[in-house]
Each structure stands twice: as structure tokens, then as C-alpha cells.
Point group: C2
Chain length 176, copies 2
Amino acid sequence: MKKKAFPLVKVNTLLQHGPVVMISTAAGGRNNVMTLSWLTMVDFDPPLVGCVISDENRTFGTLKNTCECVINIPTLAIARKALACGSTSGADTDKFAAFGLTPQKASLVKAPLIKECYASLECRLEDSGMSDKYNFFVLKVVKAWVSGEKKPKTLHHLGGNSFMLPGRTVKVKKWK
Amino acid sequence: MKKKAFPLVKVNTLLQHGPVVMISTAAGGRNNVMTLSWLTMVDFDPPLVGCVISDENRTFGTLKNTCECVINIPTLAIARKALACGSTSGADTDKFAAFGLTPQKASLVKAPLIKECYASLECRLEDSGMSDKYNFFVLKVVKAWVSGEKKPKTLHHLGGNSFMLPGRTVKVKKWK
């Protein structure tokens, strides 16, 4: 999917409605990717994102060592790939090859963008101080890319293999 | 809304799809409530939730002092009230009274449940170690309440006064 640069100060609008994301990393000439839904915005500008990555995942160590990753936002079109990336280990599988995902060169980090995702956020590790206790990492978004897709069908994890898709958008009136 | 006790180990299914929440607190005989969408699950069991509460909000100090709060999940039915609670300060407004919200006695904490919300999670402050640097609090859910409402119309914040409502649910097939 072709993407254009997106203003960093608007990154919050891509994440605060709760989409599943795919975190890509690179180390030793190998790309890896995992899927998660446990993340939150932490600040607007510069955009900080907090995410929980279990120390049972290969990504935990790679992120600590390389201090870089990309947060990619998948849509329904690749839901099976996203689910598969969340239920296999990068220790014994090249998930990009196994699940037909295309790595694209990022501009500021070595971790790849995922071509099939509608948005990709290049990140540097800002703070790993809570990673040993809570598997919690604070990431700084340094470059954002978004496709022109209207109303992307982001995935919102309900549990197991169940996901909620976006419904209608409402504009809520002010109280007075 | 009448709610029943809900298993703590399933609390993640209430939050990981990204709904807006309303955090209620109590101090000095006064209730307060604020609305936010910057939160994430941190652990399953016991259920830990991480949330970002700006130090410009009255709730920041109350949570630090009382070490208790309730995470309430509103639906479209009270969207205007949720928005209003997110854009006024508890320093000069009794938001429960001003916006027609009904406090209900919680079982384990002094902060009130919000009757009009479809789910309420009684929480104790687990860790405020990242609150000074990132406004980030780790909360432990100690009691959960959920109404029997089917497919609750949770609010997912896009930005400003725009919210996405849940659409259809999909069950994603395994890769093989």
C-alpha cells in the first residue's frame, strides 16, 4: 500500500480508537513482526506510545537491543496474516516470508515498514524502565506514514480470534 | 444500569478493543469523574491497566492521594455526558450533578461506580512510579461489574468530538 508522510502531531488520531498493531523489528539481517493490542498513546508532541510486549516474545529482546521498531496498523484485508503473526514465534519462523508480508525500507530506522498495512510509525525506544517489571516500553514516533485509504477497516481485538470492525462515526454534540 | 459481577480474568476483553472510559474518584466527601481514551491492559491476572492522566486534571492528585478509582465504560447513550466530563474541570464543577450521572456505591473502594455506564472496574493504584515523568499510572482491577447489555455501543475516540462506534464482529480464520 502506498503511503505518504503524516504529521507527527496527529499520530494520536491513528491509535487512540484502539486498533490492533503489528510491531516490526530487525536484527542481524533478519526482520521480525508480532501482533498486539495492548498499547496506548502517552503524549502528543513528540508522540509517545506505550506498549506491552511480553518477555516471552522475541521482539522484547530485539527492541531492547536495537532500540528501534515500526508500529504498523493492519486492516481486515490482512486479518489472517495479523492473527498468524500473533500466534507464531519469530524464533523459528521468518514471518514476513511465511505469511506473505512485504518489508519496505523505513526512512529513519532499520526495522521495516509493512507494505500491506495502511499506516506505519517509525519508532525509537524512549524508555525501557518499566520493561522488566511490566513488559512496558515507551516508544517515540519519529516518522509516520499513512495511505490515503478512507475509513480503513482497522481490527479491534475482542478476544481469541474475534475482532470488532469500525462502525459508523458520530460527532457528539457539546453539552450546552 | 444494573450490573453483575464479572470474572477478573476476563477484564481484558472489556478494554483491549479500545473504548473510551470514565474514571471516577472520591475525596473529601466529593465525587469526581474524567473521560479518557489513553489506556492499555498491562497484565491479565490479576488484571492490571495502565492509563495516562494529565497532571492538569484534578483526578491526577486525587488518585495519588486516595490510591483508588473506578474505570467506567460508557456507551453512545451517554456520549454527550462523557464528552462533557472530558472537557470540564472537577475543580469547579460537581460533574455528577452537572451532567446527570448517578454515583453508585462500590464494594471495595470509596470511588463510585457510574450507574449509567455498562461496565465498571473497581481499581486500586498499583504503581505511580511513572506518573511524574509520563502521567502514567498502573491500576489493579479488584472487582468488575458488567451489565447484560448485548453489543454495547462503546465509544472509540477519533479526535475532537468524533467517535467511532463498533461495527460488525468478525472471527478470523487460522492461517492453516
